[in-house]
């Protein structure tokens, strides 16, 4: 399944750097973990027209295109509606892979918070990103800090948690 290849995308896009790397900007190092930003690539007109059809001509949108090792391209439209910045992720054929947005940690569903608290008792959620996908339940990606580690974790409302990245914190006195 093509989606598996880029499953981690939204987490790294939004939690690590809040990327919004445009085509003209330097390569985002976050993508380097799993994917690379295409430079000089143009947005597929099919995708652009699909976006306009869905969100209207007047929406101010910025585009990013990334691919991964298996050459699956994902085009990301970033735009703001009602003061909320959102992303729509498209496959090359114009099909929507998912939609995502950063959310306040207070808005995480109760079950998600419970699952995260159960697994990471001493963890503090720093940022959260909601990602809705066509073929699965909504997942919430969070950047979580424990006394020793910082990590990127996702959870759904059914208690399923996944850890994607775990880094040891460097303390000043070490």
């Amino acid at each position: 399944m093509k989606k598996n290849v880029i499953f981690l995308l939204p987490a790294f896009l939004s939690l690590s750097l809040f990327a919004k790397t445009t085509l003209s900007e330097a390569q985002n190092p976050v993508f380097g973990l799993f994917a690379k930003t295409l430079k000089g690539g143009k947005v597929n007109p099919v995708i652009e027209s699909k976006f306009k059809q869905q969100y209207g001509n007047l929406v101010n949108v910025s585009w990013s295109i990334i691919d991964d090792l298996s050459d699956v391209h994902i085009t990301i439209a970033t735009f703001t509606v009602d003061g909320v910045e959102s992303e729509v992720y498209y496959y090359d054929d114009g099909e929507i892979f998912g939609v995502g947005k950063s959310i306040k940690r207070d808005l995480l569903p109760e079950n998600v918070v419970k699952s995260l608290n159960a697994r990471f008792r001493s963890g503090v959620i720093q940022t959260a990103y909601e990602f809705k996908e066509r073929s699965s339940s909504t997942r919430y990606y969070v950047r979580l800090v424990t006394p020793r580690h910082t990590m990127i974790v996702s959870a759904n409302e059914f208690g399923d948690t996944k850890v994607y990245q775990k880094e040891k914190l460097k303390h000043i006195f070490e």
Binding site: V99, K132, E133, R134, S136, S137, F158
Partner: protein, 164 residues
Amino acid sequence: MKKNVIFLLMAFATLNLTARTPAGGPDPGPAIFAKAPTGEKVSPLIEAKFKKQYGPIVNVSWKIINDISIATFTEQNTQRDVFYYNDGETFGFGKPIDKDELPKVVSESLNKRFSGATIQVVYEFKTTDSPTRYYARIIAGSHLVIASANEFGDITVSQRQKIK
């Protein structure tokens, strides 16, 4: 997939049951796809799982429809349902919501498909392997329609009946 068999369950069980059926008579909804057995007991495994998740104090009522056990309880003044498979695995969560709470994509999609129609009641259903779906009971002209839409605006019409 076992879930396909009962995918419509919650729509009919809840949209009709909680729909404030005007007739006030017995609810015909579940009878369309499933029968609610009388006297059947909820599996202790499922009951234990529920208590573990929501605590032993929660006042819960149970229904079993087509091997799916449904726990209905009230949390923070909101009615909630949890749907369990026989093995205790959670099939999904659902709750009636106000039609004003529908995500924009969903309400736009429903309005486009059923223009001029009136949405009577809405039920939000979350399941593990698909996007959240919103089931709506809609009066469209001379028809009563039960339709659902997901957060990507994909609509499925589950039932369409002429209003007598």
